[in-house]
Symmetry: C2
Subunit: 338 residues, 2 copies
């Protein structure tokens, strides 16, 4: 039985606590949240652990913790994860891992030194579609991947300190790291602020990788319709994940273009079209977060590799940094005339 | 009865000829196409006009033409339209008007000098959705427009000399000119070439206007699914045109975000959400091209203003030029390492 502490009982904390309480490998020994009402509410999940106001105090004072799950605001992730690892406990951090890649590097190195698990809650990787996409890519069923197009749009919950990039992009970028293990050689991004002048609520980003393939993302809190869509173009197959489609959320298309011989600029190209059908792919059912919590227990107990380990979490932070940098550069030259 | 000549009987010419033959105001006096088989095929549309191999010869030699309709390759548009106007006939040119804005300026000026109609076949403006969107915008029902997002994707027909921008974008840009009568102050664009190294088959473009509002477009010949979608965000209403939706192609959402007072960077924003329902808008039925041909007759006969006049066609060419410039600039720094 692993003794676990949970820090943060706000938006996502209740989901984590419910799954930790239900898991046979974990005993919830402590919960921390600055709000007395939320601490009290955490009792409803059926845990009998200690209650702390301060997450740092939970880590410092609560004896015999094997692991800490951190679901507090992202700006607190680094200090709390570091303190947890320094006292020799395993740690699962809500996404994104932290706000700076330098901090992420330090956490990954510290976890290695301490020989403890550092995992990030990239839940998408444990969803039915996320898991199916990962397997397709690993099996090479798409052939050579040439592009990836993602949209994650809604009339969003505005957050005061986090822009739409840091809020929504970690999901898609965690899957992108499954497709492409390099960092992009070029990133372009543009943003727009409707609500808070300093905080983009619409972001478009274009990533280009050394191999020539590209990824484009559109994240928005300002869309009248919810859209969760990812298209992956491959030389053999093309994949469409549309989480709101009624006729199959994940479709594998036998479509593509075969270019005969070597194409030269300016010449007449007559590509061969493969306009075959599609199959709706089967996907695992059940709650993704339950699978992730189970995976956290398995990784701790058997020292297994994790698809959501600190290295992956760090790569997502590096991508976020690159896009934010492009966004800042673009914003500097796109100021509204006043 | 207006005596009209048609130049070009390839992909779109048959649609134009069918509508010209059916229209009571027009008599088709001549058809030109370099292919003997296509010239012969044009007889099937029921016209008894003269047949020409060469479009320039049709304009030069065929007596008593009131108007010429040009549906030949875009590189020939300028010379043929100029020759038509110079001999004093009205002209309808397939989109885009021409390949350079300097040529477009010359055509607009020439049409004015000659007091003849110069119209561009921006068919989208005459479709049910295009017409409905134009009316909504004109009535101000969206409030202050803040953004526009367009996607026009398919497994495309590759053209040898035209990239996906010049092929697909004129549709969307003709509608954009209805929303925004300025040219953008900043354009970013990235492209990718799968088939022909010099000819992008995927393009993403971001346009920013002086008022602060933005437009983003994604055009692709490499998509496994056909997508024709345009979202227009306004302060009062948001509009979604999804040409392939089964539950209403054009939806007006009573959704948006009202920001209380003046928002300041870094402060906690609690916007008021309007998450009302939507209405599916009624649209005109019938063939858009028939309406356009009818409009061409009306503009000639009554000297009326045209929504698809040369000035609009020129603005679309200017936008295409701006995006192509951004694409070239981006390509220069995104060459694949060899």
């Amino acid at each position: 039985m692993l003794s676990v502490g949970l820090i943060g009982y706000g938006h996502w904390g209740p989901n984590l606590l419910r799954n930790l309480v239900a898991h046979p490998a974990f005993h919830v020994a402590a919960v921390a949240d600055p709000s007395a009402a939320r601490r009290l509410a955490s009792r409803e999940a059926g845990h009998d652990g200690a209650l702390y106001e301060d997450g740092a105090a939970l880590i410092r004072d609560h004896a015999c913790l094997d692991a800490v799950v951190i679901a507090s605001p992202v700006s607190t992730h680094y200090d709390l994860a570091r303190a947890t690892l320094e006292r020799g406990a395993h740690v699962l951090v809500e996404k994104p891992l932290c706000t700076r890649s330098s901090e992420g590097e330090a956490l990954v190195a510290l976890a290695r030194r301490q020989n403890r698990v550092l995992m990030v809650d990239h839940t998408l990787l444990f969803t039915g579609p996320g898991d199916a996409i990962r397997q397709l890519v690993r099996q090479g069923r798409l052939g050579r991947i040439t592009y990836c197009e993602g949209q994650r749009l809604n009339l969003g919950l505005f957050q005061p300190d986090v822009n739409v990039l840091w809020d929504l992009a970690p999901h898609d970028l965690s899957l992108l790291t499954e497709l492409q293990d390099e960092l992009p050689v070029r990133v372009d991004a543009v943003g727009q602020c409707h609500v808070n002048p300093g905080v983009p609520d619409i972001v478009h980003a274009s990533l280009r990788f050394a191999s020539g393939w590209t990824a484009h993302f559109h994240w928005s809190w300002m869309s009248p319709e919810k859209v969760r869509r990812l298209v992956i173009g491959g030389s053999d197959r093309m994949l469409v994940w549309d989480d709101l489609a009624s006729d199959g959320r994940l479709k594998l298309y036998d479509r593509g273009i075969a270019v005969p011989g070597s194409a030269k600029a300016g010449t007449m190209i007559r590509p061969a079209y493969r306009t075959g059908g599609w199959e709706a792919l089967p996907m695992a059912e059940g709650e993704a977060l339950a699978r992730l919590v189970d995976h956290f227990a398995a990784v701790i107990e058997s020292n297994a590799d994790s698809v959501a380990d600190g290295a992956r979490g760090l790569r997502v932070v590096k991508l976020l940094e690159q896009i934010q940098f492009a966004l800042d550069r673009s914003a500097a030259t796109t100021k509204k005339p006043s």
